[in-house]
């Protein structure tokens, strides 16, 4: 797998899988097909970009279980669930578990192409976000304990004076730490810094302590 956004098609029926693959190829979308969720997970690299189109009813892991597994493993791939006749309750469950869309067989080509394109751009963004978070986390690892304390309080919006008082150091020292943090994280501005702190889990997304 490389970083070209790819559509991963999963269906245990050879003809359904092949026809879906052909349809996506005919619309210039890069496709990889798998006969089961298990074989897909096995082949899955850590830097996969794109989206998954998965049949809901398969031997081994079902489409629903695959969705749960991807969420659990924090793999940034949106999932479109394809359902057969009467699998609707399963599709609803999959949506609740985080699938981005579900499509009924036989599949309308316009419908699935639109859905796949949306999922792909979402997948690209999810992948970029995940990569940014990874990078931020790696950079934050390089901070000293004191710098990390300062980052946390800066990200929470505390003024330098308050931080100095809280940490029992001079405001001047806070400023030095702050400059070091911005340099190490290559932050363009304060809001970029806050986003990285959130992505890396230093603070919660709601601006509170995690």
């Amino acid at each position: 797998m490389n970083d070209t956004p790819t559509v991963f098609v999963l269906d245990d029926d050879d003809a359904v899988r092949d026809s879906l693959g052909t349809l996506l190829e005919s619309s210039d979308l890069p496709v990889k097909t798998y006969a089961s969720a298990d074989s897909f997970l096995e082949a899955l690299g850590s830097d996969a970009v794109g989206c998954v189109v998965s049949d809901v009813r398969m031997p081994g892991l079902s489409g629903l279980e695959l969705q749960e597994r991807l969420t659990e493993m924090k793999i940034p791939l949106p999932v479109i669930i394809v359902t057969g006749h009467g699998d609707l309750p399963m599709a609803v469950k999959a949506m609740k578990a985080g699938a981005v869309d579900f499509i009924e067989k036989p599949i309308d080509d316009e419908l699935i192409l639109r859905s796949v394109r949306e999922a792909l751009s979402r997948g690209v963004k999810m992948h970029a976000d995940a990569a940014a978070a990874d990078a931020a986390r790696a950079n934050i690892e390089r901070l000293t304990a004191r710098e990390r304390q300062v980052l946390e309080k800066v990200a929470l919006g505390h003024p330098n004076k308050v931080i100095a008082y809280d940490l029992d150091i001079s405001p001047r020292t806070v400023e030095i730490h702050r400059a070091r943090v911005i340099e190490k994280l290559a932050a363009r501005n304060l809001s970029h810094l806050v986003r990285m702190a959130i992505a890396a889990g230093v603070i919660g997304a709601d601006g509170a302590n995690p």
């Binding site: 003809a15 026809s19 879906l20 052909t22 005919s26 006749h85 067989k105 036989p106 080509d109």
Partner: protein, 386 residues
């Protein structure tokens, strides 16, 4: 001492005879009664005096159960002292003094002394209770058999329902593939890839394969419904159809239709799959009932008649509103239905079952403007290879 013993034995014999619930009597080799125990006297309704010295056959065995005269020459009881054999019979009746009779089981044993047959001892019992129990048992068995047939019918129908839903899922797969390949072919042809034509043709070929796969699934279903577990046996078609008519009438429940069953008694038995033919009849009758839903004085006539040499024609006719021509044209196509609920497999399967029996199923308008469905069943000789 010997006399004493003999007296004692005689005494015991008397006691045994008196105590026995079975009737016991003895006759000499002319058929005249020598003795009879109380049970025999009581069961036959005569006094002891009326029996002793009279010909027992003329008193209690003079007539067959069906009322025909019973000549002494044919009597198995008297045969014992003619041929020296033990005769056991349980298919006859004894007659009481008052002219009534009871079913009896008897054993007539010759009395032989020094190689000479002196007469016979007859032991008998009234088997009214046993006969009643046997009749009840037979009735229960018959009822169980009918219930089992109903059950078999129901399970066959529900198996068809399950098959139908499984089929709907299974057939969705090739349909999905066909739609996918066809859409891909269209996009290849509309696009500008260098190998567009090759890929479009490839996709179309694959779509064709999948269409054939879908056809194969349907063929398998038909096979299952029409031929699976097919068991043919020699059957009285009139009786088979009659049972189905009763079954359908039961299913009609409270709806008040007049159902008439006309059967030609002079038809030969045929090799048929009874359950499947009954399925056809029930199916046709249920269609008729549905046609009569809004008809006053609805009426269904079922005919079973001889057809050509050795064949049978069965017809189900109703006085409903009939069917529009365009409906009649698609009547036997699978998955085509004019009903709000229904898979549309009924008549198509009926026709296949009939054809499997070497016959044909035809729909036509009858003289009332209603529908008449008739099918033929042919003798097995014409298609003995199955």
């Amino acid at each position: 001492m010997a006399d004493e013993n003999q007296a004692l034995t005689q005494n015991y014999t008397d006691l045994i005879l008196k105590a026995s619930g079975d009737g016991v009597y003895g006759v000499d080799n002319q058929g005249y009664t020598l003795f009879a125990n109380p049970a025999a006297v009581q069961m036959c309704g005569y006094t002891l005096e009326e029996m002793i010295g009279h010909k027992q056959h003329e008193l209690i065995h003079h007539t067959h159960p069906d009322g025909r005269h019973y000549p002494v020459s044919e009597c198995p009881i008297y045969a014992a002292f003619r041929d020296g054999e033990v005769h056991r019979v349980d298919t006859e009746v004894f007659w009481r003094k008052d002219g009534s009779s009871f079913p009896v089981e008897y054993v007539s044993t010759p009395i032989v002394e020094d190689g000479v047959i002196l007469g016979a001892v007859i032991s008998f019992r009234d088997i009214t209770k046993r006969r009643e129990a046997e009749a009840a048992l037979a009735q229960t068995r018959e009822r169980a058999r009918i219930l089992e047939a109903d059950l078999q019918h129901l399970s066959r129908l529900s198996a068809m329902g399950e098959m139908a839903s499984e089929l709907a899922h299974e057939i969705n797969q090739p349909l999905t593939a066909i739609a996918g390949y066809a859409s891909a072919a269209k996009r290849f042809l509309n696009g500008s890839k260098p190998d567009a034509n090759t890929r479009a043709v490839e996709s179309i070929e694959k779509a064709v394969d999948q269409a054939l796969r879908a056809g194969e699934i349907i063929r398998r279903l038909r096979e299952f419904v029409v031929k699976g577990n097919s068991t043919q046996s020699l059957e009285d078609v009139g009786a088979v159809v009659g049972e189905a008519v009763n079954l359908a009438a039961l299913a009609a429940g409270t709806a008040s239709f007049e159902i008439n069953f006309h059967v030609d008694p002079a038809i030969d038995p045929l090799m048929i799959d009874k359950i499947r033919i009954q399925q056809v009849v029930v199916n046709l009758m249920r269609n008729a009932f549905e046609a009569l839903e809004n008809v006053e004085e609805g009426r269904v006539d079922v005919f079973v008649a001889a057809y050509q040499s050795g064949g049978v024609e069965v017809a189900v006719s109703d006085n409903g509103p009939g069917l529009a021509n365009e409906v009649r044209d698609t009547l036997f196509q699978a998955f085509v239905t004019s009903k709000e609920s229904g898979m549309g497999v009924g008549l198509s399967i009926c026709r296949s079952i009939v054809e499997d029996h070497g016959g044909t199923l035809i729909a036509e308008e009858n003289e009332t403007g209603g529908m008449k469905f008739r099918f033929t069943l042919l003798t097995s000789q014409s298609e003995s290879e199955t």
